[in-house]
Subunit: 118 residues, 4 copies
């Protein structure tokens, strides 16, 4: 096949970031009070990595409420609670990717949404 | 030996929190810009767990600066960067524990500082 | 209160190990085929840490089977799947602790089972 | 640009796996005795994930030996200790990717080595 190009690298780097984010933060103790702070720090932590153009994280508040242990008033961050939109810029290529909980498959699905030239 | 008492449980719970914190957050991408935010969210995340009375986290800024990759301008949170003071309250017992980098042993050392009755 | 003693430290160290184990390995991709291997490596990884006298890990096979994604044939290790028995030996004190899923509370409960002199 | 194609997805999935592996296992307590077992379980854990065709993990034994704490006889798995070769198969595209420690940059570098049609 043709050589590895900038588009390949942009998409590869975007995958790395989603995999990293997921396995770094899943398991973090969380309550409805700490959702906002955790969203911001996940964004900031991923944002310091190479080639990240933007990253937006939101955690499903309803799911946290439902999952909070009645006695202990907290739960753990799960993959299915995460909604992440991320853009990687490599050279002049932007890869838009997403992590969204797919209810039908019961699976936190990562996918490429768009690839564009700057 | 005598039965398990409240002092045992207070100290045990304090150990759990330090072990959890360490292995949840070590590896997080970090730069000097994200230190403050990461300190706060580690505190908040551990603070939602049972029996935590207070927790204070500071990350060694100099070490982060030194460890930041010159090209990519970030590094990863390491155990030796962490200074944590934590109090667990179980019934009327307070266990004060700490995670501090021990330079002589080159080891992130966890220890009990004080155990007191409220 | 009295000074920190060997019993305190034994119990504290045992807590550290359970917290560490939990937050290191929760989130690991797992299928029924990899249960045995993962149990062994969790034991081995915790076994290299200071003061661990013995550690036995079992992962709930039924829960893994039930949680495996029908399409992708795997799931992630969750705290509630873990059953851990751990002994810490500090000086001549042995602390026996456990991580067991408490169905009534729907919570992976860590507790001290016994403290004894060698 | 053109629509998202199978090549994009193969490379994206490969990135996800490397990012996941890295942030799941970095921090694991390790000694020279547990290297082999940890290599195998990392391979097995990543191998259960979708589209993984093959994965080979080796951990730098010399680095583990050098990093082992003299008193406590263990260290933690670091990114720079890892050498990973991974193939993702998506439809009829195989993406070959790698994680290798780049000594010059002092950085655990992830890269695409080859993309081929089956």
């Amino acid at each position: 096949m043709t050589d590895i190009n900038e588009r390949d690298i942009a998409v590869f780097e975007a995958g790395i970031k989603l995999g990293a984010l997921y396995h770094q933060f899943v398991g973090t103790p969380i309550s409805t009070d700490t959702i906002d702070g955790l969203e911001r720090i996940i964004e900031d932590s991923i944002g310091v990595q190479p080639h990240v153009r933007s990253v937006s994280v939101s955690i499903d508040r309803e799911m946290v409420e439902k999952k909070q242990n009645p006695k202990f008033k907290y739960c753990e961050l799960e993959g299915r609670m995460l909604h992440v939109s991320l853009q990687v810029l490599y050279k002049n290529i932007i890869a838009h990717v997403e992590l969204v909980y797919d209810e039908a498959l019961d699976y936190p699905m990562m996918s490429i949404k768009k690839i564009e030239k700057m």
